[in-house]
């Protein structure tokens, strides 16, 4: 929002703060074309394949005149499809035998095709590990000496029907390497917890991103895996579809409000094209303990998106099935933690959350409590001044009335 590279040394550079304040005060998030106040949100594992169960999770959010589809899957790789349609009657159609074949094109579709307003995908391709010892240069390109990355295409994933909970609209994909040669994941796993919401609100645990019925949340948790060094940092490679020749960019929005994520004054946002389209939102913070407090908060760096050739990435069947094989990908890396401060090594735990949605991204507003206290804090002295003025006036009146008698 504030497009200045300089950290606000001069105040001419970062002028729009009053506007920022204003936009924060206008609490009602402007709902975009697709945004609707109420949606019927359902979450189900897509049935129909006669063989062993396959992980295909369908979140369908039906509004009065639109439907949002999120299709999560760990087939091949953890990936998600986002499809927005302008009818409440659109549905997901899966041709299992084609989807599971080596040529999955058109194995998965959202119908009717002419109702589709927007579609994109995210693919989680690799888990990085870096050795951050002896890294003194903060500006270095890599956070440390890289170990060979774990390819998520070589992970095996549990059956989501075990963790699927229709009441909380959540499900967890939990995976570990198929060939765990170093035995790093004997007691460990990498999990992707997906949650949809039927109303807007905030989770209890930080980073407490504001969610609506238009969005779903992904929580990535790495736990128990033995790191390959004493000072290992982990990172995640994420790929997305590019709509044109250029990659979408990550915006870093600075805000004044850190009430929901103490001491984090930034919100990162990836937008596909101009609004309203799809978005990914996250706070640049990860946590090294289950109890996510400020003492376990790690910084989270994001690299710029760069174009990647499709064949250099492992393919996700659902993305190929929906978009075909002629697609351009852009990839970016997230890195969690720094060589100093808390880290994964504390408790062998790392968690990070992001919000995925279509329409206009939710906008944070000052909480009613803050506004209430400010109103009292500003109002009380104001009232005192007013009251004081009145008393003074009356006093003067009395004085002038008594004077003639004296």
């Amino acid at each position: 929002m504030c497009g200045c590279g300089e950290p606000s040394w001069g105040w001419g550079l970062c002028a729009p703060s009053p506007i920022l304040l204003l936009s924060l005060l206008l609490s009602a998030a402007p709902f975009g074309l697709l945004g609707e106040e109420t949606r019927q949100v359902s979450l189900e594992a897509v049935p129909g394949w006669p063989g062993p169960p396959q992980n295909l999770l369908h979140i369908r959010a039906v509004g009065a005149n639109s439907t949002l589809h999120y299709v999560w899957s760990s087939l091949g790789l953890p990936a998600v499809l986002l499809v927005a349609t302008n009818t409440p009657h659109s549905f997901l159609s899966v041709n299992w035998s084609r989807l599971l074949s080596p040529e999955p094109d058109e194995g998965l579709m959202v119908l009717p095709k002419d109702s589709i307003q927007f579609s994109s995908a995210l693919v989680f391709t690799r888990l990085f590990e870096f050795d951050s010892t002896n890294v003194s240069d903060v500006t270095a390109k890599l956070p440390g000496k890289p170990y060979p990355p774990y390819s998520l295409a070589e992970f095996s994933w549990n059956n989501i029907t075990d963790s699927l909970d229709p009441a909380t609209l959540s499900a967890t994909f939990r995976g570990r390497p198929i060939h765990d040669l170093t035995k790093a994941f004997v007691n460990g796993s990498l999990s992707f917890r997906v949650q949809a919401f039927s109303t807007s609100g905030r989770p209890i645990q930080p980073p407490r991103l504001l969610h609506t019925a238009d969005t779903c949340q992904l929580e990535v948790v790495l736990t128990g895996a033995s790191p390959r060094g004493n000072c290992s940092l982990f990172g995640l490679e994420v790929a997305t579809l590019s709509q044109g020749p250029d990659c979408p960019s990550v915006q870093e929005q600075r805000s004044i409000d850190d009430e929901y994520a103490p001491a984090v004054f930034q919100l990162d946002q990836l937008l596909w094209g101009s609004l309203p389209s799809g978005f990914v939102q996250w706070r640049p913070v990860a946590f090294s303990q289950k109890q996510r407090g400020r003492e376990s908060a790690l910084p989270c760096q994001v690299s710029p998106l760069h174009p990647t050739l499709a064949y250099s990435l492992p393919q996700s069947p659902i993305v190929q099935a929906y978009f075909g094989s002629q697609t351009n990908f852009c990839a970016f890396n997230l890195t969690f933690g720094a060589s100093t401060g808390p880290g994964y090594w504390d408790q062998y735990y790392l968690s990070w959350s992001m919000l995925l949605g279509m329409g206009s991204p939710p906008v944070d507003a000052l909480s009613p409590l803050v506004l209430g206290i400010m109103a009292v804090a500003l109002g009380a002295p104001g009232l005192m001044l007013l009251g004081g003025g009145l008393i003074l006036l009356l006093h003067h009146k009395q004085y002038s009335e008594y004077q003639p008698i004296n």
């Binding site: 950290p7 970062c14 004054f265 400010m374 804090a377 005192m384 009251g387 004081g388």
Partner: protein, 415 residues
């Protein structure tokens, strides 16, 4: 003056302490609270102890020893990775710290009485603030040097750094010894009396305090708690919200002290010349209010807000404390000042803890809003004083007399 250097040691090393000792902000702020607790009581008895029990020379030496031991224990807590030991160290440090200031003032009075006392007090305050400033900017650097020479960061590094910081306390102990020697010699040569604090404190006086005095207490407490705990927690705030580097954040965090060092004597003179204390206090509180609002709700360069806060803090310090003298009969003055210092310390201790809790659970914005509410309380009580004054003007209140009026009044009293 070494004690001022060490008072803000925790603020200068906040990130390092929290990382190396693995404590959250709530526990970190306890370091400040433990400093304040003993002073809640000691402010009453510090003067008494100096006057009646130790005498000023021994008093200064003993309190200096306390400060030294406290800092050493604090540092040992770091070396042995025992946070409770660090807290205990701060407690001992606090026992000595504030009373040492009283002793210092007594020396100043006994040596400069009837001469340039105001200037001396101003300079003393300046020295104290310079100590704090140097600490803010030096400790981080010292920590990185020790880290480099020990080869790794950790609680040992922290302890060693604090131990080196403690050298200043030893210096101040040496100064205390030298002072005692000089003072004794002066007494022998000039037949000068040993200095007395002149504070006679009677707890029973408390019930006779007038409403304006209580309001002044409220102003004092609610003002000081928005400045000192904020500075204690400020460094991370500037780094996270305004993306300052560690050094720049230390620098801006110490700007309040930097400003108040040269301005205290100037404002002291200004308030002395013009009188009108209430107006000055009102200006100071309102300015602080504005600066906290700026810090909370804008991304403007925080130097502006911090400089404003520095100016208003020095103004308030000069204008508020003398105000007490106008609403209290002279024989209760000692009690009033002791009480004021005591509840100020109580307020600082409690608010330090609250501030830590708020920061850990609700973040900096909420903390700022809390501080704004405190300043607002201070503003409200101040306006109440103004109202009382306006209503009672006929009865001859004298809080807001100009210097000239005051002079006349003095004359009429002496006649």
């Amino acid at each position: 003056l070494g004690s001022y250097f060490c008072y803000d040691n925790p603020a200068a090393l906040q990130t390092q302490i929290q990382r190396d000792m693995q404590v959250n902000t709530t526990k970190f702020m306890l370091l400040y609270a433990w400093y304040s607790w003993p002073n809640v009581v000691l402010c009453f008895f510090g003067g008494f102890l100096i006057d009646r029990v130790f005498g000023i020379r021994w008093g200064t030496i003993i309190f200096s020893c306390f400060v030294c031991i406290g800092q050493v224990v604090f540092a040992l807590g770091g070396i042995f990775n025992a946070f409770w030991l660090m807290e205990f160290g701060r407690f001992i440090f606090g026992t000595g710290g504030e009373s040492l200031a009283v002793a210092q003032n007594t020396y100043a009075v006994s040596w400069f009485k009837g001469k340039e006392l105001n200037l001396v007090f101003g300079l003393q305050l300046s020295m104290a603030r310079i100590g704090s400033t140097v600490n803010m900017n030096l400790m981080g650097w010292l920590y990185s040097k020790v880290e480099a020479s020990l080869g790794s960061a950790g609680h040992t590094t922290l302890g060693v750094t604090l131990m080196i910081g403690g050298v200043t306390c030893i210096l101040s102990l040496i100064c205390a010894l030298a002072l005692a020697y000089l003072d004794q010699r002066a007494e022998r040569i000039l037949h000068k009396e040993q200095g007395k604090t002149g504070e006679v404190i009677k707890l029973t006086d408390v019930k006779d305090f007038s409403l304006p005095l209580w309001l002044i207490f409220i102003i004092c407490v609610s003002y000081y708690v928005v400045v000192f705990p904020f500075i204690g927690l400020g460094k991370v705030f500037f780094m996270e919200k305004f993306k300052f580097s560690s050094q720049a954040a230390s620098a801006i965090n110490s700007v309040v002290y930097v400003i108040s060092a040269p301005l205290s004597p100037v404002f002291g003179l200004l308030v002395d010349k013009t009188g009108k204390n209430i107006i000055w206090v009102l200006c100071a509180v309102a300015t602080t209010f504005v600066s906290h609002v700026m810090l909370a709700f804008t991304l403007w360069n925080p130097w502006i807000a911090m400089c404003l806060m520095g100016v208003s803090y020095s103004l308030l310090a000069c204008a508020l404390w003398p105000m007490v003298a106008y609403v209290v009969p002279e024989h209760q003055l000692g009690t009033a000042y002791g009480f004021m210092q005591s509840i100020q310390n109580l307020g600082l201790a409690i608010v330090s803890i609250i501030a830590g809790v708020i920061l850990d659970t609700r973040g900096y914005l909420f903390l700022e809003v809390f501080f704004i509410a405190c300043v607002s309380a201070s503003l409200v009580s101040l306006l109440s004083v103004v109202l009382l004054y306006l209503v009672n003007r006929a009865r001859g209140g004298n809080l807001n007399y100009s210097a000239k009026q005051r002079e006349e009044m003095k004359l009429s009293h002496t006649e």
